[in-house]
């Protein structure tokens, strides 16, 4: 038992190391060139920031597949607001607000109207993208205002990024919000019985997820230099893969940790970037590699979890025994 747990903790590190070494060798060292390392960090930033928020939803056992389109919507609306008013800095609060509002909508529909998060957010995937198209065609191509370019300087961007991640890591690892989210993923009834405000926590998780998508949209605009129709597409899958590749179980719970998300994000960025360097651009091979990889990760995670469960766990028949004793009275 103890050995198994330890192994599971090391898996994300090992996976990261293997992937890193493989692509370093396969690219004949090109991957670790200083130019490419900068690229790697730039590319992983967006995934990590989105992941910081999405992790709360995953920890609760849900999923937020709308983060990619939310990122696009926040970016486009933020730029729109900035151009419309002529106040470039309005981009920041506008993008964050849009992201949080979409998250709030998701959270309320899931927790109050009981729509499974997967169905809801995948519907948002198409609906919000439609709105992005609409706005983008209306306002035309937008470029980063000159006054905001200073934000893209490493000495501002990197500390900003670190501050955001540190703040989210603090909330997830060292406050009740994170611990309650983990408890909800483990067993929502238990969480409720121990006084966790589950509906509020679920909404909060989606709001954080949306807020981080909004924050990521700013970083994305800074890197690309503007908005586009395809902004943020596929981000939701990259983030989901980063989280699961880091060793978080699909069921969430205490298996969800910030360090796993970070490692997974670097791993997935290296895969995409590495494949491109050794001659497979993003749309072609990398999607199938990612697909196969995701399936494998899930398989390993499921196998490990069920092995843990087999050891010392009560047999699956037990619930019917407890049912007999706790049958609702007065039926």
């Amino acid at each position: 038992m103890k050995k198994g747990v330890k192994l599971q903790t090391f898996v994300p590190f090992i996976a990261f190391a293997v992937i890193f070494l493989f692509f370093t060798v396969a690219s004949k060292g090109k991957m670790v060139s200083s130019y490419n390392l900068k690229m790697l960090i730039d590319q992983s930033m967006v995934i990590i920031i989105v992941g910081c928020g999405a992790l709360f939803v995953v920890a609760q056992g849900g999923i937020d597949l709308s983060v990619g389109v939310n990122l696009a919507l926040s970016g486009v609306v933020g730029m729109w607001a900035a151009t419309l008013t002529g106040l470039p800095f309005l981009l920041l609060p506008a993008a964050l607000a849009v992201g949080a509002i979409v998250g709030l909508f998701n959270g309320v529909v899931v927790s109050k109207l009981k729509v499974p998060s997967f169905i809801l957010t995948i519907a948002m995937l198409i609906g919000v993208r439609g709105m992005v198209h609409l706005i983008q065609t209306k306002i035309g191509a937008q470029y980063l205002p000159a006054s905001l370019r200073i934000l893209n300087e490493p000495y501002i961007k990197i500390p900003l990024f670190v501050a955001i991640v540190a703040l989210m890591a603090f909330i997830f690892e060292f406050t009740r919000v994170g611990r309650f989210s983990q408890a909800m993923g483990e067993n929502e009834t238990v969480a409720r019985y121990a006084g966790v405000p589950v509906a509020r926590m679920r909404i909060l998780a989606f709001v954080l997820s949306g807020l981080m998508a909004g924050a990521a949209s700013i970083f994305s605009i800074l890197t690309i230099g503007g908005t586009s129709q395809t902004m943020g597409s596929f981000t939701e899958m990259k983030v989901a893969m980063a989280i699961f590749l880091g060793g978080v179980l699909v069921t969430g719970g205490t298996s969800a940790r910030i360090y796993k998300m970070l490692l997974g994000s670097f791993s997935i960025t290296i895969i995409v970037n590495g494949l491109a360097i050794i001659g497979y651009p993003e749309t072609q091979a990398s999607e199938s590699v990612q697909g196969v990889l995701l399936l494998l990760i899930l398989l390993v995670a499921m196998a490990a979890a069920s092995r843990d469960r087999r050891r010392g766990a009560p047999p699956c028949e037990e619930p019917s025994q407890t049912q007999e004793a706790s049958s609702p009275p007065g039926r």
Partner: protein, 501 residues
Amino acid sequence: MSAADNILEIRGLCKSFGSTRANINIDFTLKRGEIKGLIGENGSGKSTLLSQIAGLYRSDAGEMTLNGKPYSPSSPLDANRAKIAMVMQELGVVEKLPVGINVYLGRLEQFSSRGAVNMKSLNGAVSRLFSEWNLPPMPPNAVVSGMMIEQRKIIELARALSVEPDILLLDEITQSLSLNNRNSLYALIRRLKDMGRSVIVITHDIDEMLAISDSITVLRDGEVVGDVKASEVTADEIRYMMVGRNISGDYYRADTAPDYAEEVVLTAEGLTVEGEIEDVSFQLHRGEILGFVGLSDSGIHSVGKAVFGLAKAGKGRVALGSGGEVKNTRDAIAGSMGYVPKDRDNEALMIHASIFHNATLPSLKEFRGPAGFLSPARLRKLSGDIVKKLSVKCTGIQQAMDALSGGNKQKVNLGRWLAKDLKVLVLDCPTRGVDVGVKGYIYELMKQAKAQGIAMILISDELTEALGMADRLIVMKDGRIVRTILRGEDFTERSIIEVMI
């Protein structure tokens, strides 16, 4: 009596679920044409026994002999082939499917050729079945969704009868039937008997059981404690066999008088939860252990949930001594209350998570520092202290909960509440599924908590436990309080069972 008269013989049957021993060395005999009653408290193992006969569970040990041949069914279908059918207490029917399909589900081949079901012959067979056994008729192609519990039960009964069983097992079926259908069920059972077939009946209604059965087997804590002829026994005698326990050791309280302060820490007024409890009012005092006892449908467990703010909005109010009102779980916890639910693995503990996570969950609020910071070191110390104080057997606080035994799980479950500065602790069957040693230890903890002035609500399925620990006992029946008894007053099993049943 020759062995040839016995259709079913069971020797030394055992069945455990994890650490809970549901059946221990059961010996059981069923004669041809006999109607056998099976009775016992909740969790005494009746349903488990029937489920093994019906092929739902495999036995851990022991053997069954059917018609003189070894019998060990691998599935309910297998049991059906051996002409044994069961109407289960909890199973039910499939919504959205027609009545006829529900009756023959899993056995549709007999009405089919190449996978296509001949609805006409199926519906004909179902109609014949209903009229042959005089069941209230239903159109075979009506969909089950929207039918009442009684109609569903009748479909389940028809399903069992369609097997043409030599042994029919009925698990608590009468309680969902109305009076006239109950009478037709009795007639049906007698008819089976006349045909030389056997029936095993589980029911909580002792008088009903005495009226319909030939002999009665009484189970207690998974063991057979008596096997008597129905004509030679009274309802009271059965009750004592069911509930009476040997009070071994001295782990209960030694004093015989109530002992608590005047100060009221919790008041419940007119608590009502639709279909579960009605107009329940009581006061809880500092340092008091208030026991709740009653039969399975008496609503005692719902009282615990309602007091802790877990019940869906009903009538009535729960007020704390400090002046606050409990409207939800957060209010309860803010008012220094704790709750140990009955279903430990599904309601109390995150069984796949570590001891650390489980032990600290209810205390997170108290441990938050500036900006909500939870110090991992302080939390580790807290869980370490709980493990040490209650001597939980584990490899460390990072060990997963599901690797612990039932007793150690319960220690963590209790310890995490006792580590807080509690005023009220609601305990729903705190000693369920733990071994005797831990049981005594839990009573010891309760005594300590009492001495510290913590008020406890002890909801218990074990009468002796409630008698042994409580200052006052509230007896409930059908969701209402029927009597409140003070320790030392009329504090005997006899007086309580009389009001309980």
